[in-house]
């Protein structure tokens, strides 16, 4: 089988290891570009959200590159993204006539038997080897997240703009190449050291901004027009609310044991939004409150255009923002969104936060 999967941030490095390990050829999903989005927009329903369009475009590009199998995930609903793979499957197979197999992983505890059948079908190695591969994949995902986390801390302090991002690219390439858990740990340690020894200005007190929102647009830099990196280059420390490994533990591993994850976030959100409304709607409220309590200067909410959970959150956030006295900037992302408009808003938001901090008696540089 020639397998492809959604492109979401750096996670492809982990998935590639796993799928190659169990005995299949991987067709790497190309990083989304303007063309990916054009392709997706052409065949997607007009009011589907941005992730639907980008993923559909990615699948079409991967099919051009020879993929015959797509692996994606379902969801825990009520967000309609849980059904997107089904719709994409129909568009690809029935509307466009592609001879492609689509495999959907549903959350474990809702579908143990189905998940077992998929694995039995896919895995060409013995159980011991498979567990080893899962461990290596997990270590790679952890390493990727560790590199990104550290880059968010170092970037606003860097003396030579862009130096952090260059180490980050190198680290990702190294982790991709590493073929054992030991090598993954070695290259991660080396690159973290390299990042830390970059020339830094310790006198800066960067503004602290939390980035919240829907998981796909938060994790995929192409779709959010590099919000995290752009803020970093403006001298802002960014805390991204979602990392794939944390999310996996909270939503897949705990869920499999019927334990509800992200309890602290949901608890914080409850006075404003007591219901799980799907996607990351409730999280966006809860995380905003937690950032306020941790003394952050501001929050940026990333929402795909027409994303219902984030629209609900957006209309509640002004109240949270007033109650906790924390500025929040909402960026609605769709195929029309231009980088210039995003930069103008981010620059203005950073100016606002800087003036506000000085007014509150703090310092920045």
């Amino acid at each position: 089988m020639k397998i492809t999967f959604p492109h979401m941030g750096t996670s492809w490095i982990g998935f590639k290891t796993l799928i190659e390990g169990i005995g299949h050829e991987v067709v790497l999903p190309p990083p989304p570009t303007k063309r990916t989005l054009d392709l997706g927009t052409k065949y997607a329903p007009e009011f589907a959200c941005l992730p639907f369009k980008v993923l559909l475009g990615t699948y079409l590009e991967a099919i051009e590159l020879g993929a015959d199998t797509i692996i994606s995930s379902g969801g825990v609903g009520p967000c309609r993204a849980g059904y997107y793979t089904q719709l994409q499957k129909r568009i690809l197979q029935e509307q466009l006539g592609h001879d492609v197999r689509v495999i959907t992983f549903e959350p474990l505890n809702r579908n143990w038997v189905g998940t077992y059948r998929i694995f039995r079908d896919l895995i060409r190695v013995n159980l011991r080897e498979f567990i080893g591969l899962l461990w290596l994949t997990w270590q790679k995902l952890l390493a990727l997240d560790a590199i990104e986390r550290e880059s968010h801390r170092v970037r606003p302090l860097e003396v030579n703009t862009g130096s952090t991002s260059r180490v980050v690219s190198k680290a990702f390439a190294d982790i991709d190449k590493a073929d054992s858990v030991k090598k993954v740990k070695d290259v991660t340690r080396d690159n973290l050291e390299k990042m830390n020894s970059l020339p830094q200005d310790a006198h800066r007190h960067p503004l602290k901004v939390g980035v919240i929102g829907e998981i796909y647009v938060v994790l995929e830099p192409f779709v959010n027009l590099d919000v995290v990196e752009t803020l970093g280059h403006m001298g802002v420390y960014v805390h991204r609310s979602i990392f794939l490994t944390d999310w996996t533990i909270e939503n897949t591993v705990l869920d499999a044991f019927r334990v509800e994850g992200e309890m602290n976030i949901k608890k914080a959100a409850r006075p404003y939004l007591p219901e799980m409304i799907g996607g990351h709607g409730q999280n966006s409220i809860g995380e905003t409150i937690l950032y306020a309590k941790k003394g952050y200067d501001g929050v940026v909410q990333l929402a795909p255009f027409t994303c219902i959970p984030e629209i609900v959150a957006k209309s509640i956030i002004p109240k949270v923002s007033r109650d906790y006295n924390l500025p929040v900037l909402t960026l609605m992302l769709d195929e029309q969104t231009g980088k210039a408009g995003i930069s103008t808003r981010l620059e203005a938001f950073v100016d606002l936060l800087a003036m506000r901090r000085v007014r509150l008696g703090g310092e920045i540089a």
Binding site: S169, E229, H233, P318, T344, R345, E347, L352, R359
Partner: protein
């Protein structure tokens, strides 16, 4: 005499302001950008040079607008800022206790919330440009009314008709429909003003706490019909500063003055920059799969600046370097 220069290069107009040490406006200039920012900037510098006394000494310069980065390089700005900050600074300069700024320009509209002299919230129109200057221009031309008269006509209306203002395409077809039904032009124009203000408040103003004193600026502030509709809808008086059309540029002149006060020497090229030969080109970087489109600005054979690269490798290696 000492002065500070502010330049605001937007999609529709290019504005210049010269301000003296006391914060008084010495001169201002408004020209159409016509999609040629470099030519517009140079034409503006040339025109200003003719208007000002030769003894004028520019101590600082600032740039804003959607072409702020480019403008900064061409004029040698000391400070480059986004439009929201520039507009807020200018509004606070004219009305120190301002709490809300409504700004409607050629292609975008903004709402800025200020409390105790600090911007606390803002919004910009996202996908919709209904109600901005270009749309009003277009409608005035379609009705055969000079844009200067357009707003005044709205004030003559006793019974504004209801126009769908959600989207400029629907607004236009609704206006045509109302004309064909036989409604009077002033009623239609007044209805359009009401619709556009409703649209602005629903889109840009959603969830924002709009409070007086309230300043209305940007090119559309010249339209009395829109101003009247805002007052009717919000129930508070709307203040229109004298220099409403060039507030972004004024904000940058003020910021340039503040920048100078910190003891920094200006890098302004002088009005003679209108004679220099600037050229831009763009190319795709093949250094990695991102394939960024790099823009390069040159003056004769010298590269002044490059941008567009995500990794900053081109940006970091430009000033003064000879073009290869």
């Amino acid at each position: 005499m000492n002065a500070y220069l502010g330049v605001d290069v937007g999609s529709v107009s290019t504005n210049f302001v010269l301000m003296d040490e006391q914060g008084k406006l010495l001169d201002s200039l408004y020209i159409r950008t016509k999609g040629q920012p470099i030519q517009a900037i140079q034409a503006g510098l040339k025109a200003l040079e003719k208007q000002v006394p030769p003894s004028l000494n520019v101590l600082g310069a600032g740039a804003t607008g959607s072409a702020r980065q480019l403008t900064g390089v061409i004029i040698g700005a000391d400070i480059v800022k986004n439009e929201i900050t520039a507009h807020a600074v200018a509004a606070m300069h004219c009305v120190p206790d301002v709490q809300t700024v409504l700004e409607i320009g050629g292609q975008d509209s903004k709402l800025i919330i200020i409390r105790d002299g600090v911007v606390v919230d803002f919004a910009m129109n996202t996908v919709c440009s209904a109600g901005t200057g270009s749309f009003l221009d277009h409608q005035a031309a379609r009705l055969g009314i000079p844009i200067e008269e357009f707003g005044k006509l709205a004030l003559q209306s006793k019974q504004p008709v209801r126009i769908a203002g959600r989207c400029s395409v629907f607004a236009e077809s609704d206006m045509v429909h109302k004309q064909q039904m036989g409604h009077k032009t002033p009623d239609i124009i007044a209805g359009l003003c009401d619709a556009l203000v409703r649209n602005y408040l629903n889109n840009v103003g959603k969830g924002k706490s709009i409070a007086a004193p309230l300043v209305f600026q940007g090119g559309v502030a010249a339209n009395q019909g829109i101003r009247h509709a805002f007052e009717k809808e919000l129930g508070v008086p709307v203040i229109i500063p004298e220099d409403f059309g060039v507030m972004g540029a004024l904000g940058m002149a003020i910021l340039a003055k503040e920048n100078r006060a910190q003891g920094k020497k200006t890098s302004f090229r002088g009005f003679g920059a209108s004679e220099l030969r600037f050229a831009t080109r763009s190319f795709e970087c093949n250094g990695c799969p991102n394939q960024c489109e790099i823009v390069e600005i040159r003056q004769d054979e010298t590269v002044l600046a490059r941008w567009g690269d995500r990794c900053h490798k081109w940006q970091n290696t430009t000033r003064g370097e000879a073009a290869s």
